[in-house]
């Protein structure tokens, strides 16, 4: 039986989108894996909304600086050329349109690129964090998620049933089955995971997909 792609493979695919010189914010959770999958020869500076530009790899035990972390409270290091700053400067970068890309986790993305990622409907309380700001402010929003829920329900939907983070903000969806571009005319199925067909991806997708330009899964 064919398997969906691993988290590593999904992160690798997103990494291809991050070009030399880009400034990028990675959301908490799976998007953070993308930092380890930048193509050789490309320099990408990662922003953390708690006030860091130039997030480096995780430190070894003896190199931890308790004053230095990312927005998920993980210990981090800084790359040469990094800087730290307050929340106003940080969200000036984000809402002011200075970030080239943000990669955000998602519960649902709609055919129009609406993003829902801050609250599960069955839960009384959710967390906006910086997601609304990132979704509205970054030049390009890539949603990274599993193609279906644990129960097998599609996450790429006609219209989101979960509360929105921002309307019409996602330009690209990367899942464990597909790469989908959000275009004015609809969702373009650009790539399918190795071994999967466009029809199989459509079966697991609520929103209609444009399938006349499907290509092989892009690898490094």
């Amino acid at each position: 039986m064919k398997e969906p792609l691993s988290r590593e493979a999904m992160a690798t695919r997103v990494g291809i989108e991050l070009e030399d010189g880009f400034y990028v914010n990675l959301g908490i959770g799976m998007p953070m894996l993308v930092a380890e999958h930048i193509l050789p020869g490309r320099r990408v500076l990662f922003q953390a909304e708690n006030g860091v530009l130039g997030v480096g790899p995780y430190p070894s035990e003896d190199a931890i600086d308790p004053d230095l972390g990312n927005a998920g409270d993980q210990d981090i290091t800084l790359v040469p050329g990094a800087c730290t700053f307050d929340s106003i400067i940080s969200f000036g970068m984000i809402v002011g349109g200075h970030l080239d890309v943000t990669v955000l986790g998602a519960f649902q993305v709609s055919a129009k690129g609406d993003l829902a990622n801050w609250k599960l409907p069955q839960r009384t309380v959710g967390s906006y964090g910086g997601a609304m700001d990132l979704a509205v402010g970054a030049k390009r929003v890539i949603a990274l998620m599993q193609h279906v829920t644990r129960d097998g329900d599609p996450r790429v939907v006609t219209s989101c049933s979960y509360p929105l983070t921002a309307p019409q903000c996602v330009s690209m969806i990367v899942t464990d089955l597909a790469v989908i571009d959000v275009l004015p005319e609809g969702l373009l199925l650009r790539e399918v995971a190795p071994g999967w067909t466009a029809a199989e991806v459509q079966e697991r997708t609520e929103a209609p997909l444009i399938v006349d330009r499907v290509k092989e899964w892009k690898t490094i």
């Binding site: 307050d86 809402v95 069955q122 609304m132």
Partner: protein, 231 residues
Amino acid sequence: MAHDKIEKSCEEAVADIGDGASVMVGGFSGRGTPSNLLLALRARGLKDLIIIRNDASGGWKNPIDIDILLEAGQVKKVVTCFAVFGSPKKISALEQAVLDGRTELELVPQGTLAERIRAGGAGIGAFYTPVGVGTLAAEGKEVRDIGGREMLLEHALTADFSLIKAHRSDRIGNLVYRRSTCNFNPHMAMAAKTTICEAENIVETGEIDPDLVMTPSIFVHRVVHVPRSAS
């Protein structure tokens, strides 16, 4: 001496915070969080506090958070952007207090929260932002076309007290923050009637290079020395 703002203890520094006070609390997760001032505040046994703070989800590496006030039943309302962690398995102290009807929650997008605090400290009444348009965050708010883009009217936030943390302070209250501990601290310092700072290091006035002061002393009213080893 008016220009020596050093207090003897965290307890003395928070002694005049009363029931129903609004309190901003600096920090992002455990970093830059004035844990020792929070412990002293909890010991006052107050009620009906209004807490304004980036994260109220608890569960970070530093266990001393506003959770300790919520668990003690001292908080009437929380204004924050992180109310819970992603996993529904973990119920935060705030989530429990909201479910029990003990505490009111005002959820604000993070950048909007920062800007509302900045505006409050700078004498700006309100501002328009594109963040939150078309979402639950827009409920009850004026939406206006600004330069061809829909934006929400958001009002400034101020507080009776701010509890903040700095890496270094001089005796007059000029502050320096280190690495990612800066976050909300400088703006909260400006937005409260009384700002109380927990500083890891105290130096003589004049020892901090004026170019390197991150929060000017005019915004800081009390400083308590809590060396890192003691915190």
